[in-house]
């Protein structure tokens, strides 16, 4: 175990030394990988900001629950109790049929029409503000309320939320596809970098094998190399976005002052940043692993 740890530490320092020995090539590699990662990561940041902006400015979604014409005061009371106990809603208001009619009457032009009616055609209703904003949650609430006794119909004004959801889902999809394409590019870049490394270290690999190095010993520094340039590339991408946001937010500041609203784009959250770095490291490692598999077995001395 101690030996194993020491071997890994040695492979790690050897890799760092190797990177430092060719600073220009290292810098170039890391920049290329960083740029490739900055694109999807940047889009993701924009998307996340749009999402939270949309949340902040979207109206609270409302549901209207219309009761049956023959609903009695007891039915209204029972629904009211159920709503009070429900934890998926922020508030609700009861609109008695008489009040609804009065509101309608006050609208210009309708008074005559309503005066001609023999009885009030409007039902009692509840107007409910839901806690959640996502379309799926609203649909759930709708079907739940619709199942209650003496409820005739439930309307959800969730069109706006639904549209936003679709748009954001589309954006996430686009980010995912971009990320997949650029992940492939990253793997290809490390694959090729490691191929060149293996070529330049062919003598060392041959001698090491001849004097008793295991395959794992030979592979290890290359895998570290892939993981390290992947991580460094990820960190570079993070810094690129950080710098871009700094500039962009600077430009936004006078605008926010003008409209009196805080318009500032936020960087990735801590968890997202760590995930992005791990992802970049894993991709670099994977590219190196593929390359080592492909190129090291090719000149096995025995």
């Amino acid at each position: 175990m101690k030996n194993w740890l020491a071997a890994h530490r040695r492979a790690f320092t050897a890799t760092i030394r190797r990177l430092a020995d060719a600073p220009l090539a290292t810098l170039f590699n890391i920049t290329v990988i960083g740029t490739a990662l900055a694109l999807p990561l940047g889009f993701y940041v924009i998307l996340a900001n749009l999402q939270s902006l949309a949340r902040d400015f979207s109206p609270q979604p409302q549901l209207s629950v219309f009761l049956a014409q023959d609903a009695a005061a007891a039915d209204v009371g029972s629904i009211e109790r159920r709503l009070k106990a429900h934890n998926g809603i922020t508030s609700f208001r009861f609109v008695p049929r008489a009040e609804a009619l009065a509101t309608l009457k006050s609208r210009a032009g309708l008074a005559d029409v309503i005066a001609g009616l023999s009885r009030n055609p409007l039902p009692d209703a509840f107007v409910i503000t839901a806690t959640g904003r996502d379309a799926a949650g609203l649909d759930l609430l709708r079907s739940e309320f619709a199942g209650w006794p003496k409820v005739a119909e439930v309307h959800v004004d969730s069109d706006w939320a639904r549209r936003l959801d679709r748009l954001l889902a589309l954006g996430r999809y686009a980010v995912l596809m971009l990320a997949a394409a650029l992940a492939l590019a990253l793997v290809a870049i490390t694959f090729n970098t490691i191929r060149l490394q293996i070529l330049t270290q062919r003598d060392e690999i041959e001698v090491a094998k001849l004097i008793g190095a295991t395959d794992a010993w030979i592979r290890r520094p290359f895998l570290y190399f892939g993981g390290i340039i992947g991580t460094a590339g990820g960190a570079t991408a993070w810094l690129m976005i950080w710098a871009a946001l700094l500039v962009f937010n600077g430009q936004l500041r006078p605008l926010s002052a003008l409209y009196g609203i805080p318009l500032q784009l936020a960087h990735l959250t801590g968890a997202d940043s760590v995930a992005a770095l791990l992802f970049a490291a894993a991709l670099g490692w994977f590219g190196a692993w593929l390359s080592v598999r492909r190129h090291l077995t090719a000149h096995n001395p025995i």
Binding site: R10, D203, E204, V207, A208, L210, I211, G212, A213, I302
Partner: protein, 219 residues
């Protein structure tokens, strides 16, 4: 105790060339053996069979009681660590200095950097190259390069030293130095097997002589 035993070994290279035929040979622990013969006789091939760098096409090679032919591929690196190898074409790494060349076998066997450095310096001291530890191998003379090869071969204290023509292109003075070094290792118990056609060296060290002619043992 028998250290290395070959029985009825044949080696045919891909392409059909028969390099060795029906070799039976056993080497005892602590022996000093010279494999002699003309160029192309099969000396290098014989050493490579012992170190599992080549596999026999027929017959068995046994090292430390292990049958090399049936060894799993994973076991081969560990078998090779029993040997110190001096290659006919040196195989020094020219992109690193003398010290780092000698460190390689220690890195491979997992020595700590500090213990490794201590041993590497001791080995370099032994072959008289300690003052050149920072030098690049390319700047060394032929004799110094050969001594560096020996330092790299013995630094992990192998039980067997296999040296392929270590005095090949050296003039008599350098060759004698190398000979003395090999004798010293042998005297502390290392089994030394040398491929050479340096008969002057043989006359001085009085080893057991094994001659190969056209891939066969000369009686």
């Amino acid at each position: 105790m028998t250290h290395i035993a070959l029985s009825n070994v044949h080696k045919r290279y891909p392409g059909g060339h028969q390099a060795l035929a029906d070799i039976s040979l056993s080497i005892e622990t602590g022996e000093l053996v010279f494999i002699t013969g003309h160029s192309g006789a099969g000396k290098s091939t014989l050493l490579k069979l012992m170190a599992a760098i080549e596999r026999p096409t027929a017959g068995t090679v046994i090292v430390n009681g292990q049958n090399v032919g049936t060894l799993r591929p994973r076991g081969i690196p560990f078998l090779r660590r029993n040997f110190g190898l001096v290659f006919q074409d040196h195989k020094l790494l020219f992109d690193r200095n003398v010290f780092e060349n000698v460190m390689l076998p220690l890195d491979i066997s997992g020595f700590s950097r500090r213990e490794g450095a201590r041993r590497a310096r001791a080995a370099l001291d032994k072959v008289g190259l300690l003052h050149k530890e920072k030098a690049r191998p390319i700047t060394l003379s032929g004799g110094e390069q050969q001594r560096l090869c020996i330092a790299r071969a013995i630094v992990h204290r192998p039980a067997v030293l296999l040296a392929d023509e270590p005095t090949g292109n050296l003039d008599a003075g350098y060759a004698a130095e190398i000979g003395n070094l090999l004798r010293e290792f042998n005297q502390v118990g290392v089994t030394v097997v040398l491929a050479t056609h340096d008969m002057q060296l043989a006359a001085r060290l009085k080893p057991r002589l094994v001659e190969i002619r056209g891939g066969r043992l000369a009686s």
